[in-house]
Symmetry: C2
Subunit: 321 residues, 2 copies
C-alpha cells in the first residue's frame, strides 16, 4: 500500500475511533506528562496556545498568494516553504522583504502530484535513491523503497543552503508529508542532525511519541517539543469542515498546539495541479482558507481565550530559559 493511501486509511480508522469516542480532534495524550511546553515556558497553568501554520508555500502560486494575505491579516501566523518547488522564488522574495514573518522550511523529498512535478535541489546524481527514472522526486515511497539517509542529508543541506543564499532566515524545519518523521529513526536522525547544525527547531509533538518512540530518543533536552497537533483528514466531509475545526478549538488541551493547515485558492492552476485525487486538493485548500479567514475563527479564539504563538517566539523563549 502506498504511503498516501496508508495515511488516508489511517485517517479513516481514526475517524471511526473518534466517532466512537465522540471526539473530533487529533489529540493523543499518550505520554502522561503534567508539564506542557507552555508550562515550561512560564505561562500560567492551563494556558492554551496555538500556531496556525500553513504548509506547502512555494508549491504553487495558488498557495503563495492567499497565504501571504492571511499572514498579513494575522489569521495564519506561521508557514513553511518548499525549496525545490518552482514557485519558491516568489515566496523567497516575499520572505526576504518580510524578515519578521515566521517562515520555516518544509523539507521536501517527494513530488506527490502527477501532472506537475519537481526534483531535488542537490545534483540528481548525488541523490539517486530519491529520484524516479524521469529525475523527479518519487511520487510515493513503496514499502520496500530504499531511501539512502546519506543522500537525504545531502538534499536537506542543499535545500537549506539555497534558502539561505536566497535571503531567507528560517525559524523552524518541518517535513513535507511527514516523510522524515514517520519513516524510522535513521531519517529522523538526519533531520535532527541538520537542524542542530543550523540551530533550528524541528516540528515534533508529544502526540507522536507512543507510535514512534525513536522521535523522543533522538531529541536532546534542549529541543522544543510541541504538545499537540491538529490536522484535518480525508474522513471529514466538506460540509463538516468548520465543525471539525470548531470542535478542535473547543476541545483544545492546555499547552502549545500546531494547527497544520493547507490554505490555497480553488482556481485553475491548483485544480489542474491536484486533479488526480481530491485529498489535499484545490477544494480542500479553499475550505481551509475559508475557515481560517472567517469571523467565526477569530471569534472563537477570543471566546475561548486561545492565544497565538509563533516558532520565532518559541525559540526566543526557549533560549532565555
Amino acid at each position: 500500500m502506498s504511503y498516501s493511501n496508508r495515511l488516508e486509511k489511517r485517517g479513516s480508522n481514526f475517524a471511526s475511533a473518534w466517532l466512537r469516542l465522540g471526539y473530533f480532534v487529533l489529540i493523543f495524550p499518550l505520554t502522561v506528562s503534567a508539564q506542557t511546553l507552555a508550562d515550561r515556558l512560564g505561562y500560567p497553568p492551563g494556558t492554551k496556545l496555538i500556531i496556525v501554520h500553513a504548509d506547502d508555500l512555494g508549491e504553487t502560486h495558488a498557495v503563495n498568494a492567499p497565504v501571504i494575505k492571511t499572514l498579513e491579516a494575522g489569521s495564519v501566523n506561521s508557514a513553511s516553504l518548499m525549496v525545490p518547488c518552482p514557485w519558491f522564488p516568489e515566496i523567497a522574495d516575499y520572505a526576504k522583504s518580510h524578515p519578521d514573518a515566521d517562515f520555516g522550511l518544509h523539507l521536501t523529498v517527494t513530488s506527490e502530484r502527477v501532472y506537475y512535478r519537481w526534483g531535488p535541489v542537490a545534483p540528481a546524481d548525488k541523490v539517486p535513491s530519491l529520484v524516479d527514472k524521469n529525475g523527479y522526486f518519487h511520487h510515493d515511497w513503496e514499502n520496500n523503497q530504499h531511501i539512502n539517509p546519506k543522500e537525504v542529508e545531502i538534499e536537506l543541506r542543499a535545500q537549506i543552503e539555497r534558502a539561505l543564499v536566497m535571503g531567507i532566515r528560517p525559524t523552524h524545519l518541518d517535513s513535507h508529508q511527514y516523510r522524515l518523521i514517520m519513516n524510522g529513526k535513521e531519517l529522523f536522525e538526519v533531520m535532527v542532525r541538520v537542524a542542530h547544525e543550523y540551530k533550528l527547531p524541528v516540528f515534533v509533538t508529544r502526540d507522536w511519541f507512543a507510535d514512534h518512540p525513536y522521535l523522543q530518543q533522538s531529541l536532546g533536552p534542549d529541543d522544543i517539543v510541541l504538545d499537540h497537533t491538529v490536522t484535518i483528514g480525508p474522513e471529514v466531509p466538506a460540509e463538516k469542515w468548520a465543525e471539525f475545526y470548531v470542535s478542535a478549538l473547543r476541545d483544545l488541551k492546555p499547552g502549545v498546539t500546531e494547527f497544520v493547515i493547507h490554505p490555497g485558492f480553488d482556481d485553475q492552476e491548483l485544480r489542474a495541479a491536484t486533479r488526480e485525487r481530491p485529498t489535499w486538493g484545490s477544494a480542500w485548500r479553499q475550505r481551509d482558507l475559508d475557515f481560517f479567514t472567517s469571523n467565526q475563527f477569530r471569534e472563537i479564539l477570543a471566546q475561548l481565550n486561545i492565544k497565538l504563538i509563533t516558532w520565532r517566539e518559541l525559540a526566543k523563549m526557549t533560549e532565555r530559559k
Copy 2:
C-alpha cells in the same frame, strides 16, 4: 545590455524600419533563391504554406490548457515542449496519448522569469556554466557570459532523453529564446549534432542566414530549412495585434513560413509568473490565443488559399525525396 533587452531593442529598431518601408511582416529574403522549400517538396510554384506553432508548452498550466484546445480545434497545428519546466508532465501525458500531435522539444537553457523558475534536467554539477548561484538556469546571459558548449550538449541530451522516457516522440527541435540559434556557431553546432543523432529537424529559416552565416554553414544538404518566420514583437501595440497578423498573412511570401506564437490564458497563474515585464506576458499570450482562435484567422486562410503544414509532414516529404 541583457539578451532580452537587446531583443526588445532590436524589435523596436525593426519597427521603425517597417514603418519606413510600409511593411509589418518579419520577412527578410536576404538570400536570393528562386526555389523555396515548398518548391523542393513538389508543390506548385507560388504555394504558401504555414506552420502555426505554439511555443513554451510545459512552462505553465495556463499555456498547456489553451494550446491543447487550439490543437484539437485545428487553429494551431504544431507546438514545442519545455522539458525542464514543472508542467512538462502534464503535456507529456497528453503527447503520449496523442501520438499524432506535432510536438517538438523547445530546448531550454535559460529560466527567464523572476518569481517562477526552473533548472537543468542534467545534474547541476555537470552543467555549472548553465546555472546561477541558486541552481536555476541563468535568468539571462550577459555579454561576457561563459557558456560551455560541452555542458549545453549534456543538457540537450538530458532533455531529449527525459522526453523519450516519458513517452514523447518529438517531430522537431527548436530553441527557447533562440539561445542556441543566435549565440554563435559553437552552440548551434551542438544543437545540430544532437538533432542529427536523434534524426530530428531543427527549426531554422533562410531569413536568418544573412545575419548568422554559420547557420547555413553548419547544416547539411539534407537538413530542412524553412523559408520564413513571422513572430510578433514588443513594438506592436495591443490594439494592433490582429492587424499585424492579418498584414503578415496578406503579405506572405511563397514557401513554408512558421508563425511562432505564444498562446496562453491571461489568468492568475500566468499573470503572477510573468508579472515583472509585459513582453511575452499573460496579456500578450491571451492576445495571441484570441487571434489564432478567431473566425477572422480561419477566414483569411481560406480567402488567401494558405495551407497548413506540420513538421511531421515536412519530415515525411523530405524523406521521400
